[in-house]
């Protein structure tokens, strides 16, 4: 079991960071919201174990791409830890995005060479 989880997390790691950054471009959000958002927008295709968001969030925070703060939610009287994108985080997102695009193009070229022409 332990082995399984780690493997999945590893595969997702790079992508997960990008997805989180992308999610936060819409505005601050807490962990649960981020998880739900990713799940919803990918039509539940990316089954992220919610727990594995947190190591990623803390990593991104340590690198200075996110800031975190406990704030009271607008709709209910409760505190959540909200993550915000920093300027460095935005820059990083564009870096990751272009990397991802390159990668996607490369994969596409291999998979469907005819269509590309």
């Amino acid at each position: 079991m332990a082995k399984d989880t780690r493997q999945r997390a590893n595969v997702l790691q790079g992508t997960l960071d990008m997805l989180i950054l992308r999610t936060l471009i819409l505005g601050p959000a807490h962990g649960h919201e981020i998880g739900k958002y990713i799940q919803r927008t990918t039509d539940d295709l990316l089954q992220v174990q919610h727990g594995s968001l947190y190591p990623a969030l803390h990593r991104l925070e340590r690198r200075g791409w996110l800031t975190a703060k406990w704030e009271t939610a607008q709709d209910r009287n409760r505190q959540f830890k909200y993550y915000r994108l920093t300027a460095a985080g935005r820059k990083q997102l564009s870096v990751e995005e272009s990397k991802w695009k390159q990668m996607a193009r490369a994969v596409a070229q291999v998979m469907w060479p005819a269509e590309e022409n």
């Binding site: 727990g51 803390h58 990593r59």
Partner: protein
């Protein structure tokens, strides 16, 4: 963030996770799940909380250090939880490391690298055709500017009379060329080395540099010692320096002369007398010069010296060069093989103890690890990564190795301090300065670390190899394992303990045989009297007359039966042995020689079997005569032995030397000469008058030797006041000579006991552990009708097997390892001695069974029902 804010962060994470789970659960409830179900669903969606926490913490950085600290904390707690395990392991390791480094340190201090000097490798002893050179020759070589030589020094050891108050004391000093310390590269701890203008021999005022020990002994380590004067051989010397505390003299073997003075006429007589001088030479080679280059470059210089003084036959021999330390020097100094072998044996023993200690700790660790396999399996099942478990176990064992090493070093330091304080005042003061041998220390610590780490890893590897370990812990799992690592370790321990005990017993028996041996001469009522006349003011002639008178006067005292002089005291530290004596066209390879006065055989109570004693008219100018012992006569003489001629080479007459014929006039009974343990050896006596050297007086007293000591002293003082006199009982001298062996046997038996103890602990641990593992099996056996006796037998059989296999392995090992020791044993003592092998074997097996008895007894008391319930 800083690591000390970790608790805040931890709290923060908990809160964050909790809020996530709560939110998720709320959503699930909204979908219509029950409270309980919703919570489980949230948990499922979240994943392994503990693992996520761990991974999140990893992202914080600082984590490696935190984990390490935590592991150390956990490890310390674990060690505290099982104090006996910890104490036994740490003590084993400490004894192993301490004993090995301490004993090797002693060996090193005495034999291997025992000289304090800068770049010791550049220094070589030089013998230009003779082992001792004259001052004139030294000067010639010094001024010859040999291109390979950076500096040349001369020194010789000499007894000096030190005046303390009205008494004269005999001390040992080195008379050295003034550049001695400069060339050696030794700086005194206080004051200065001899200066340039003290290069002129005989310059006034005389200066001296004293040893640290002398400074403490005579000046109570007072800081104002520089400039103080001492009186040596009736000359006044100003102290200009004190040597460092741990200075090891060029003589090696821990010999520490107390004063160093420059060569002067007052101390050695006329420096230009070509026949005079017994200087030893040491050369410092220029950088990059090799041993053979040095040797080659000496040739022409010595050749031209020979041409300059063709009449001086002393330098006719081969030019010889050898290092200041090492085997070659030991061989030349005639270090008895026994001593070397003994020290090698001690090192062997120390290494054995280290190995046993390691095996012991390994056994304990493996057993402990096996007990923890359940804990480890649980931790793995809970999602702990394998590397974390291994890391944690390694930390724990590293902690153990660290504690053991620290304790070992502490033990070593204690030993070294004790050794420093040890001052054996033999004819030359003997001081030990132990240096911590880094290589050896690293080796022992490395071995300890390796053993502990490897054996600490075993449980981790075992449990991670088999992730079903939880289930494998079933009834009887242990019984199928006939040969396990643990058993192998205990077998090894037994084998090592066997070797240890056999070698110790061998040495002890050898010693017992030695100390009960009959020396072959009168021991009870014999006194030795050493009088040290001032070399410079007493010529050989005057010295001879003095001793003649002394013997005369003493023999007239009351309570004295007879008095004689001998240049060598038998069984002393110095032996006089010469080779290449020829008799009846045969070579006698090794003969003990002694110059004695008439009456020696009477005083020593050695009967003359044939012929006559020396007489007063055997003078220097009468035909040379000799008395030999029985062994000599039986092996080499023809007919009745008397009137045979022996041919003795005359020293310094070139190659081949001139032989001088001696007529044999008597045959004396055999006695011991070099050591009590020696085999019957050929010996030869000649009259002191024909071979003069200052004698020691041997006094045979009527009854109580102590009562006449004062009378003898008074007589001698009246003959020559202010002369150092040393009167000793022969008995006590011998006791002193046996002291090293006594210390050695004490050490050996102590270490033997230690090894045995360690091995016992080892077997106890393994058997007790095995019983613990087999509790359920034993329960079943008993439930099915096995008797207590049966169970007892079962366990004891197991232990007996281990002990037997270990003993047999040990016997094979011992007979192989101990072979080289054979030479050092007293005659007629075989190395593989059935009696000692059987005794040690039985003792070991017995001890093994005893160690197993308690666990076995406990096993036989197992309540079957309870035993089964434990599973």
């Amino acid at each position: 963030m800083r690591w000390w804010k970790k608790n805040d962060r931890e709290h923060d994470m908990e809160k964050e996770f909790a809020s996530h789970l709560e939110l998720e659960a709320e959503e699930q409830r909204a979908k219509g799940l029950s409270v309980e179900e919703a919570r489980y669903a949230a948990q499922r969606a979240f994943g392994n909380t503990a693992l996520m926490k761990e991974q999140t913490r990893e992202e914080w950085g600082w984590l490696k250090l935190e984990i390490a600290l935590k592991d150390v904390q956990y490890g310390i707690r674990g060690l505290f939880r099982s104090p006996i395990f910890t104490i036994v392991s740490v003590l084993s390791l400490a004894l192993g490391i301490g004993a090995t480094t301490g004993i090797f340190g002693t060996f090193e201090a005495v034999f291997l690298n025992a000289v304090t000097a800068r770049n010791l490798g550049q220094l070589e002893h030089i013998e230009p055709g003779d082992s001792n050179v004259s001052y004139r020759c030294f000067q010639y070589l010094s001024s010859a500017n040999i291109p390979t030589v950076e500096g040349l020094v001369a020194y010789f050891e000499s007894g000096l009379s030190l005046r303390s108050g009205t008494e004269m004391e005999r001390i040992t000093g080195d008379i050295v060329s003034p550049n001695f310390f400069a060339v050696l590269g030794v700086t005194p701890a206080m004051g200065r080395a001899f200066s340039e203008d003290e290069q002129q021999p005989g310059r006034q005022p005389h200066v001296a540099i004293v040893s640290h020990g002398f400074w403490q002994r005579k000046f109570d380590a007072r800081p104002d010692v520089l400039g103080k004067v001492i009186e040596l051989n009736r000359e006044v010397f100003t102290i200009v320096g004190v040597l460092p505390k741990n200075y090891r003299s060029v003589h090696g073997y821990g010999m520490s002369p107390e004063v160093y003075v420059p060569l002067s006429k007052e101390l050695v007589g006329d420096l230009n007398d070509p026949s005079l001088g017994s200087l030893n030479l040491i050369a410092r080679m220029q950088d990059g010069v090799t041993f053979s280059q040095l040797k080659a470059s000496l040739g022409p210089v010595v050749q031209s010296w020979r041409q300059l003084y063709p009449g001086d036959g002393r330098y006719a021999g081969k030019i010889d060069v050898y290092p200041l330390t090492g085997i070659e020097k030991m061989r030349r100094d005639g270090i008895p093989l026994e001593l070397t072998v003994f020290l090698l044996l001690l090192i062997l023993v120390a290494v054995l103890i280290l190995l046993i200690a390691c095996a012991n700790v390994a056994g304990l660790l493996v057993a402990r690890g096996a007990n923890r396999s359940r804990e480890i399996a649980v931790r793995l099942a809970l999602g702990a990564p394998r590397y974390r478990v291994i890391q944690q176990l390694l930390t724990e064992t590293a902690l153990l190795a660290f504690l053991g090493s620290c304790a070992g070093i502490a033990l070593y330091l204690a030993l070294a301090t004790a050794a420093e304080k040890l001052q054996i005042r033999e004819s030359v003061p003997f001081e030990l300065h132990l240096h911590l041998d880094r290589t050896l220390l690293y080796f022992s610590i490395g071995l300890v670390a390796l053993t502990t780490l490897l054996s600490g890893l075993v449980p981790a590897l075992q449990s991670s190899r088999n992730s079903w370990h939880l289930r494998s812990n079933q009834i009887g799992a242990e019984t199928h394992q006939r040969f396990s690592l643990r058993r192998a370790l205990v077998v090894g321990q037994f084998a090592l303990a066997f070797v240890l005990l056999v070698s110790a017993s061998l040495f002890l028996r050898g010693l017992a045989k030695n100390s009960h041996a009959d020396p072959g001469f009168n021991m009870q009522h014999l006194l030795t009297v050493e009088v040290t006349l001032n070399d410079a003011s007493y010529s050989a002639y005057r010295s001879e007359r003095y001793f003649e008178r002394a013997i005369n006067e003493i023999s007239r005292l009351q309570g004295i039966r007879s008095v004689a002089g001998a240049s060598t005291v038998p069984l002393g530290i110095e032996h006089w042995v010469i080779g290449s004596i020829r008799v009846n066209d045969r070579n006698v390879p090794r003969v003990f020689v002694n110059s004695v006065t008439p009456g020696y055989f009477q005083a020593m109570q050695i009967p003359l079997l044939k012929g006559r004693d020396f007489q007063a008219d055997d003078r220097a100018d009468s035909p040379p005569v000799a008395i030999v012992n029985q062994t000599f006569a039986n092996a080499y003489l023809k007919g009745d032995g008397l009137s045979n001629l022996v041919y003795v080479p005359i020293a310094g007459t070139g190659t081949p030397p001139t032989f001088l014929p001696f007529q044999i006039i008597g045959i004396a009974r055999d006695s011991k000469y070099g050591s009590l343990g020696e085999e019957a050896a050929p010996a030869l006596y000649w009259p002191l008058s024909q071979h003069y050297g200052p004698p020691t007086l041997m006094v045979d007293t009527a009854s109580a030797p102590a009562s006449v000591m004062t009378a003898i002293r008074q007589t001698l003082v009246s003959l020559e006041p202010r002369t150092p006199i040393k009167i000793e009982l022969m008995r006590e001298r011998l006791a002193g000579a046996l002291l090293p062996s006594k210390i050695a046997s004490f050490l050996l038996s102590g270490m033997g006991t230690l090894g045995l103890l360690l091995a016992t602990i080892g077997i106890y641990g393994v058997v007790a552990y095995g019983v613990g593992r087999r509790t359920a099996e034993i329960g079943i056996r008993m439930a099915l009708g096995a008797t207590k006796a049966h169970v007892l037998g079962l366990i004891l059989k197991d232990a007996g097997q281990i002990a037997c296999v270990g003993t047999v392995t040990g016997a094979a090992l011992a007979s192989f390892i101990l072979q080289p020791l054979g030479k050092a044993l007293p005659a007629g003592m075989p190395v593989v001695d059935l009696l000692s092998f059987v005794t040690v074997g039985c003792a070991l097996t017995f001890v093994g069974l005893c160690a197993a008895l308690f666990p076995a007894w406990r096993a036989s008391r197992i309540d079957p029902m309870r035993a089964l319930r434990t599973e």
